[in-house]
């Protein structure tokens, strides 16, 4: 990210990173041979998360093991089918006497509960870039991919995404310590009530304030502005990438599948040939294999798309942190402005000069001045107000500074995570491409052998 370097080190954003092994060059498993599969590469990402060694992860292993269908009544009392996901937790490095792994604790959660958890975290930790959930509905699909939420492939990919979400939370230096999160993992019943009891909804900024672009911040921290622009750019470019990738996948699918027709015609042709027959027939089989191979290839590529999607959704979280900063900054500026207005008012009253137009001032000019007592009581009230205002301003300032400090901490952490994860994603993508090429070479070499025998 290109962020203007901050000259004001007053809000020292560079606190010590809470990373178990920051800076070491062997943080990520170095891949020397390209025979590593992309699932191994993905495991590297998970390993990286685990290596961060939060207290929670030291204690337990977390996974989303299964998905299942349920039916029940929804909020408008209608029957609906929905999917539930099995969360397994197990004490870390647990081996019972017999040497077999300890049975995990399990509970079932549906997607809406994940959403509730996330909303709670967003409100409670506005300075944290909260990891995103996998998409609710399938987007950026290419034509063979189902857009149906109940489609097993979609459900499977979502299961992986949800597990990823939980691991991200569990490896986060701040979020992993949250008790509601812990309950989410351990208490199936009564969790919902516990969340609502925190009263987090009250803290949620009113929609009007936080989403409105109407308020103008005079002096936002330049780093946040730059970050906001960067995340907008990133969001645009990843969306573009995902859209075009879907089209590319469609086309590639077409190319491979048409080759299957070669299989059929070679077979038919071989029937009228004597010496050439066998070679043609076997070559035809290889063409069929080639045509069929694209399904797995593209299925694997969806993993890559999911990794990109995660960061696409992350940009939204980044932007909401920036907005929160703007909001606090705005409130700060408003408080300062309010205070200075009051001070000016007091000064006017004391000196008798009217600099600020006010209805009272006009009417008093027209209908005569106030009495001395009236003025003195006004000044006293103002003084009180000013004092309160100064208190409020101090608080707001402190709040702002704390926010900026904590936020920037998390932003730095996020930046590093992003660089690492996207790098891993690119590596795994390259490996997929290599694997696709190798398969292609294999099939065509086999076909060539058959042609040679014609």
């Amino acid at each position: 990210m290109r962020i203007a370097s901050s000259a004001d080190s007053s809000d020292n954003s560079r606190s010590q990173m809470i990373m178990a092994d920051s800076g070491s060059s062997d943080e990520v498993a170095v891949i020397c041979n390209t025979d590593i599969t992309s699932t191994e590469s993905e495991n590297n990402i998970i390993n990286t998360m685990v290596e961060r060694g939060t207290a929670l992860l030291k204690k337990m292993e977390i996974s989303v093991a299964e998905a299942d269908k349920r039916t029940g009544k929804n909020t408008v009392n209608m029957q609906e089918t929905y999917t539930v996901y099995l969360i397994e937790t197990r004490p870390a490095e647990s081996v019972s006497e017999g040497g077999t792994p300890v049975a995990p604790d399990t509970l079932w959660r549906r997607y809406s509960e994940f959403e509730l958890l996330r909303t709670y975290l967003l409100v409670t930790y506005p300075y944290i870039i909260v990891p995103p959930l996998p998409e609710k509905r399938a987007e950026f699909v290419w034509h063979k991919l189902s857009a149906d939420n109940l489609d097993p492939d979609f459900v499977e990919r979502r299961r992986v995404g949800l597990e990823n979400f939980l691991l991200r939370l569990a490896s986060h230096p701040v979020l992993s310590n949250d008790s509601i999160f812990f309950l989410f993992l351990t208490e199936e019943k009564g969790w919902r009530e516990a969340v609502l009891e925190t009263g987090f909804q009250d803290k949620a900024d009113s929609r009007l304030k936080s989403l409105s672009a109407m308020f103008r911040v005079k002096n936002p921290d330049k780093r946040f502005t730059a970050l906001k622009h960067y995340s907008e750019d990133l969001s645009t470019v990843i969306s573009q990438l995902l859209r075009i990738r879907a089209r590319v996948a469609d086309r590639l699918y077409g190319v491979y599948k048409v080759h299957g027709n070669y299989g059929r015609v070679f077979s038919e042709w071989s029937a009228i040939e004597k010496e050439m027959g066998d070679g043609l027939q076997s070559a035809g089989h290889h063409m069929d294999t080639y045509a069929a191979s694209i399904d797995d290839i593209l299925e694997e590529e969806e993993h890559y798309a999911d990794q990109l999607k995660e960061y696409l959704f992350y940009t939204e979280a980044v932007r909401s942190v920036c907005r929160k900063h703007e909001l606090i900054q705005y409130e700060l500026e408003m408080a300062a402005q309010d205070l200075s207005y009051k001070k000016q008012q007091k000064e006017e009253l004391e000196t008798g000069t009217v600099r600020i137009f006010s209805l009272k001032g006009m009417t008093s000019k027209l209908f005569g001045q106030e009495t001395q007592e009236q003025r003195e009581s006004k000044v006293a009230a103002l003084e009180q107000s000013i004092q309160e205002g100064e208190e409020a301003l101090k608080e707001k300032n402190a709040e702002s500074q704390e926010f900026v400090e904590k936020a920037w901490n998390d932003i730095e952490r996020f930046k590093e995570q992003k660089e690492k994860d996207l790098r891993e994603a690119l590596i795994s993508y390259a490996i997929m491409q290599i694997s696709m090429c190798k398969k292609g070479i294999q099939v065509w070499s086999n076909a060539k052998e058959c042609f040679n025998k014609m």
Partner: protein
């Protein structure tokens, strides 16, 4: 390489006709029925055979069979360079290359250099180099077909191209056409009978090809086949020729299907390529807004671009090398089918005349006229020539398609290899830890 009498034989080689016993010559040589077992079997009219030689003897009525026999006797080593696998040593080499554009007031056209190297005595010099245009090839082909109707003449690439659709002077078109003309000439030069045709000689050697002067050297067979009376209906086509016809029909159909599939693949590849290019461009755009990820993303964009280039090569190859050869074979099949039809006509005439003659004989004991016997000879010659050509055609077809399809496989392998190499070279770049200082972004 042996030079000498046994070359031109039987129904071909006009110059040497007097030297060799010709089945149609007046000398009443016992007529050998040739290898054609089925014909004699189906002839239930005994007067058809002037002799009762058992049909198992395969007599060298066909030029190439006798030729190869002689070669076998004189030269035990078969010519390893003969790609057509017929065992005949090559003493006539032709090449078509060096296209040049000629602009005159009347027209613009392309000529090609035709180079010849030969040791044959029919040629005055050992080497020739002339320039010919498509029209000249067309002339040659027509002359060959006319003078050797019992033989299969290889096809030429399409004569007419739609102006505005295809650029007749584009490098690709000219190159594709030139390769086809080269192939045509090589096939003719390799044919044991056609290669001795004087028209070919003229084509290869004359400074100015005077096309209007029709060289009136037709074989007796050629003459008589040309003058086959129409209107006769074929009774019983021998099974092997029917089989040939059926094979050709099916084969032609399959080639058509392969053509369509290939075109479809080209279309899909083209659309894939378009999307892929855009895809690579987005990575470049993304790289511009990143720091540490800039080089990796640019690297990915580069790999995609390389893959695009490789794919373009593959597609170009398919459309320039693969498809034209496929289409040319369809033309070849059409030529073969027309030869088969001619053969049918010749046989039909014979059967018609024979039937008429038999009837007259029954009526008033008129003996079977000589003409009828001559017809029979015609039929048998034709059959023999055709079968020899068929064998050769099948061999060539096998070679050609082996080459064509392995070529296609090779090009695809090539494409994947290039792409794989690009991605593999990217991995180390992606893995290296950036040592750039994260805080220095003052750009």
């Amino acid at each position: 390489m042996s030079v000498g009498a046994p070359r031109g034989l039987a129904s071909s080689g006009q110059k040497l006709i007097t030297e060799i016993l010709h089945p149609l010559s007046a000398a009443e040589e016992p007529l050998s029925p040739g290898q054609d077992v089925t014909i004699s079997a189906e002839k239930d009219k005994e007067p058809g055979l002037t002799n009762g030689t058992p049909v198992e003897i395969s007599s060298p009525a066909s030029a190439s069979v006798l030729l190869s026999r002689l070669q076998l006797d004189c030269e035990p080593e078969a010519d390893a360079h003969d790609a057509f696998g017929s065992g005949e040593p090559r003493d006539l080499f032709v090449t078509v290359n060096d296209p040049k554009k000629h602009v005159s007031t009347m027209e613009t056209y392309i000529t090609y250099r035709v180079s010849t190297k030969t040791t044959r005595i029919e040629f005055d010099l050992p080497e020739y180099s002339v320039r010919r245009r498509y029209q000249d090839f067309d002339w040659l082909r027509i002359k060959l077909e006319d003078s050797q109707p019992t033989h299969l003449v290889p096809p030429l690439p399409e004569k007419f191209v739609m102006k505005g659709v295809v650029d007749r002077f584009s490098e690709e078109f000219v190159d594709t056409r030139m390769k086809a003309l080269d192939k045509f000439l090589k096939r003719v030069a390799d044919h044991p009978v056609l290669s001795f045709n004087p028209h070919l000689n003229a084509f290869l050697t004359a400074k100015d090809l005077n096309k209007r002067q029709g060289l009136a050297l037709l074989t007796k067979v050629g003459e008589s086949v040309k003058n086959v009376a129409g209107g006769y209906k074929l009774r019983a086509r021998p099974a092997e020729f029917s089989a040939m016809g059926e094979y050709l029909d099916t084969f032609s159909q399959k080639l058509g299907t392969i053509d369509r599939i290939s075109q479809r693949i080209l279309r899909e590849q083209s659309e894939y390529l378009t999307e892929l290019r855009e895809y690579g461009a987005v990575y470049s755009t993304w790289a511009a807004s990143e720091e540490q990820l800039q080089r990796p993303l640019e690297g990915v964009a580069g790999c995609v671009t390389t893959s695009c280039g490789a794919l373009e090569d593959l597609s170009d190859n398919m459309s320039q090398d693969f498809l034209p050869v496929l289409r040319e074979y369809v033309l070849y099949i059409e030529s073969m089918k027309s030869v088969l039809r001619k053969r049918d006509q010749v046989q039909a005439e014979y059967e018609g005349r024979l039937e008429a003659a038999v009837l007259r004989k029954q009526e008033d004991r008129t003996p079977i006229p000589v003409e009828v016997e001559k017809c029979q000879d015609k039929v048998e010659c034709f059959n023999a020539d055709l079968k020899a050509d068929w064998e050769r055609w099948q061999r060539n077809k096998r070679q050609d398609f082996k080459q064509l399809l392995t070529g296609m496989a090779d090009k695809n392998i090539n494409y994947y290899e290039k792409s794989q190499a690009a991605w593999e070279s990217l991995i180390p770049l992606l893995q290296e830890k950036q040592t750039e200082d994260k805080t220095s972004e003052t750009n």
